[in-house]
């Protein structure tokens, strides 16, 4: 994980100065606009002051059609996916496609000079063996790919041709873990456990037995134990083995991760606070709550990641990290990365 090479913008005022948006706007297209993350992208980009949303495509569309749910917000149409049209109509393409489709399309767009933010998993793993195991549909990784955990990769994102937007679970885990790892505070050899709980929108829009209301409501279940692709992504970003257990929560949006690490006995909560302050004091989208542990409701419908921590005298640490899986865990972070790529204020369209 890269350290921050570029300073974060000031976060003094929520109202962004007029000069923050460039005089002429960038043409942006959304490929895969009808899933949960695609819809969020349309909502965010349709009001983004530095961007013109020029196209929104869906592989399921056979003819142009309106989106009633976006009436008054975006009056454009969804069109069938057409790579040539994207090249003509857009400078940047934000892709919310299945892994296979993303693995195919992204290199073609990058070859033809477009910049891409890819929300799929196709290009997230740097390690070739891990990628071959978890994303066999990815046949080649184009040059200039950057893993876009914005707060830790700002400089690289700034010049990237293709940003691999992090997965939802890894975003919450790595924003909490990376500062402690970089500070070399974690006890070597001690277990790192990420017990993660996610809302159902993380499972996507397809109707399956698992997403049936009566299956999820009033319940909780673990899934993908020892076999979830985000485990590899967390381990690569963290730089070591991690036990990762995702659970399906009876809510629509939001992730809470309870993370167990060990630090030297006697380490205080203040000490951890100093480390997190150094990492995030100037970051708009990471909020530190200390011993007041954060809750999903505080970040739902926002691009924030809230992080809290508790330590006991033995050095047992419990970290809590929460995000909205569709925003900071997907479309919000994608727009944040887009802003960095365009050199505009990182908060545009997100506050």
């Amino acid at each position: 994980m890269n350290t921050m090479a570029t300073p974060a913008p000031s976060r003094q005022s929520r109202k962004i100065p007029d000069g923050a948006a460039p005089p002429s706007t960038t043409r942006v297209a959304v490929a895969g606009a009808t899933g949960f993350t695609g819809q969020e992208l349309l909502r965010l980009l349709s009001r983004h002051p530095a961007v013109t949303l020029t196209a929104a495509t869906s592989s399921g569309a056979t003819a142009a059609r309106k989106l009633p749910a976006l009436t008054r917000l975006w009056e454009g149409t969804i069109t069938p996916l057409d790579a040539d049209a994207l090249v003509r109509e857009a400078d940047v393409v934000v892709m919310a496609l299945p892994d296979q489709a993303a693995a195919d399309l992204a290199p073609r767009l990058a070859d033809r000079g477009l910049r891409v933010v890819d929300l799929s998993g196709a290009f997230r793993l740097r390690d070739a063996a891990a990628r071959a195991r978890w994303y066999p549909e990815t046949h080649a990784v184009p040059p200039g790919v950057v893993y876009g955990l914005t707060e830790h990769a700002r400089a690289a994102v700034s010049g990237a041709r293709l940003v691999a937007n992090p997965g939802c679970y890894p975003t919450a885990a790595l924003l909490a873990l990376v500062p402690l790892a970089q500070a070399k505070l974690l006890s070597p050899g001690a277990d790192v456990i990420v017990d993660a709980k996610s809302g159902v929108s993380g499972a996507g829009k397809t109707a399956t037995e698992r997403t049936h209301f009566s299956e999820v409501h009033d319940s909780l279940s673990a899934y993908g134990v020892f076999g979830h692709r985000h485990n590899a992504e967390i381990e690569e970003g963290f730089g070591g083995p991690v036990t990762f257990t995702p659970h399906l929560l009876p809510i629509d949006r939001g992730i809470l991760e309870t993370i167990y690490v060990r630090v030297p006995p006697g380490t205080t909560e203040e000490h951890l606070g100093d480390i997190y302050e150094r990492a995030y004091a100037n970051e708009t989208f990471v909020r530190l709550t200390g011993a007041s542990l954060p809750e999903i409701k505080h970040v739902a419908h926002t691009n924030f990641c809230d992080i809290g921590w508790r330590v006991d005298p033995s050095g047992r640490v419990v970290l809590i990290s929460v995000i909205d899986n569709l925003l900071k865990g997907a479309s919000g972070q994608a727009v944040q990365n887009l802003n960095v790529m365009l050199g505009v204020d990182e908060r545009l369209g997100l506050l």
Copy 2:
């Protein structure tokens, strides 16, 4: 709607006297055992003291299989549907099948001497024109069919060959409306409106866009306005036109119906109370709450229908009727009807 011809059993004690169950038990099969109502039937019948659950079939099964969710409750197996086997193994078949399958199977079983409780809509409507419109898959209605709204059809159910178990919405509506209609209290010509709200289990187990968690959760929507088949069933049971609007609630089980009728100005809540007491004072499964309006949580996971009412001086009446759609609205009432058919205590297996 028939008036009660047979008195309801005493409800003095929840503990049912030992003599209530006959010395030898009846062999009962469940056809369609893997849907929501089928599962409830297995739960109810597996602990029923007067019944032996001899078979449970599913048209989707290709070989016998266990149901892990029923471990320790029922250790039998689900087998492929086979009418001949049902005839050999059962005296009574409770059918929780789609309308088409029920329309085909029920007459065949009845012809071969079995008694049937049918939870589908295939045989609920007496009016041939209405049935042809709403249930075109029903080609013939065997003799001896009884519409089994238990509290109002006990004598007929007792001798029935085939009981058409009422729909969930009609059960809640008719238990509230029939006593007022029989008492001739309703103002002629005034609108009767049933604004109904149901949990998602009423939509069945199939995964569709409409039953996706993210679609239902945190929302409410009306559906089937002017076109729901239960409207015809309510009108037939009530004996007049009814405006019926169902809504999909973000809960799993339970129905609340808010029913608007008019009575002569000056009619009091006490007067309505007298009418309901006459109808239901001796009924175990209908509870009257008067002006303390009932809530879904009071009846969820039970076979009760709770009914409350308010009247204003102009004669405007608001009735609230609540049931658990899978129990009193389906499988619970089916077992209640089964008990009546067998001549055993109506409460067996239900309290």
Copy 3:
């Protein structure tokens, strides 16, 4: 209800032209900033481009304190309520106070030259007898009070000294009913029924038995039948008797109202569509869905009111009107009214 005297602004583009915000901003204070609607006001106003949020008060505060939930969004402090300070620090006060406190404070602020948007019920009813019955704490109504159902009162709001912001239930009901009433389409003497369902945030932030999670979750209940104060407000806005039954939904935010009226037999859905189009075609915040009935999820977290309708050949009409009770039903409409009062683009801070 007034007809629209001032044309609605164009809704062609979600991106509001730069000139829409005046060069110098208005100083706005929020009185009652810690309840659900107060928090929404802080969220909305802290990013409003034409407003400076100069004060936020709470009668419960004994000293200035920060709001952690608004970190990065609003870095101001909550201070104890102090009318003199409000007069010094604000040009307009938006009040989210209990009725009693609002009845006391609003006239004092208006007397001293401030303009006020009042979210309480204290000044909503024009009829003195009705007000004395439902809002006995209101001792006097200052001159210049306007009932602020924005789409139907724009001209009056524009010059108002004190805007009585409509209640949540009346907003959804009246936006659907007023166009039909104004078109004189409703059958005289026929019942008008508003069957309303609201999320729990409408009951306020105080912890009571009724707002306990275990009481509300998985349930539905009617309350306030024949005795809810919003009934009088709906009847005054509509101009006739209305049967109103509110229900408590197991969701946090959102209202759906199912409204039953009668029109002359043969009236078509297209005819109703023409009437609604005339009323709302140029309105940003009212969206017409026709026979595709709207759902709460489409308006949650927005300032929209979505209205749909169905008609049968007999003239029975079912209207569905949905809003977010905390936005279009409270704080969103308050900001919309504030925009009208300030003469700025009505959409500022709301899209």
Copy 4:
């Protein structure tokens, strides 16, 4: 934790043989009958074939009153708490009282010859120092107290004067951990982590900010980190240090615990299965799901504890244990213990 000294009853048939209930029934009272667990006790005991529910008390009651929610289920009355009356009217008292009240009442009842099942925490901890820290209101522990984790304490419960019914979190944790600890399979020195998630009913019936619907719904939060009294109870039952993190789920009832332990590398899931089978093969109320991990919905409204497990080659184990917190985690296990104390079939009233 004691090993099983008495064999579990056969679980071959859900239908309990007639001889299982003694000819004369035991008089049982419920002290503290209006909270969530008290209500469950009334529901369970009112239909229990070997028990007569002779009294139900509430310290809040000032006069005898009916419980409308139990109409048709239990027609008795709630009376003010009166120890003398309990002694006269009951042979066994099941207490669902706050810790302080239980610490006071239980010894007095035991002194006067009654047997007691106590659902509070007052007598759960054997270690005096731990008890003084976590339950300072407990001034003395009467002789004959047994910690009633039924499956592991059957013989002792059988002769107990006072059964300390286990806490909800400890029940789920210990049923999963004890067999592995007794088999000496756990790697010494490795962390044992219990990441627990509970429905809101576990927080009790009192309306607080924390139990407000709008606070819990659509959210998830950790609480009591390093400071929950159940941590001490789990550690005492397990016999070693445990990191325990409870979370509040947006559901009403149910607990899922994700438990992380380490076993020697190469240990297989089959090996763990053998251990669990030895512990629970004859137990009715513990069901083993192996690698098909259990979910809350499978045990809600039942007295089952479902346990599943996964192991990776390094010896990392993830256990999932689920219960209904009000049944197996409180009132259900209390009735199970009562049955053992009375020498009747352990399943009476619970299936």
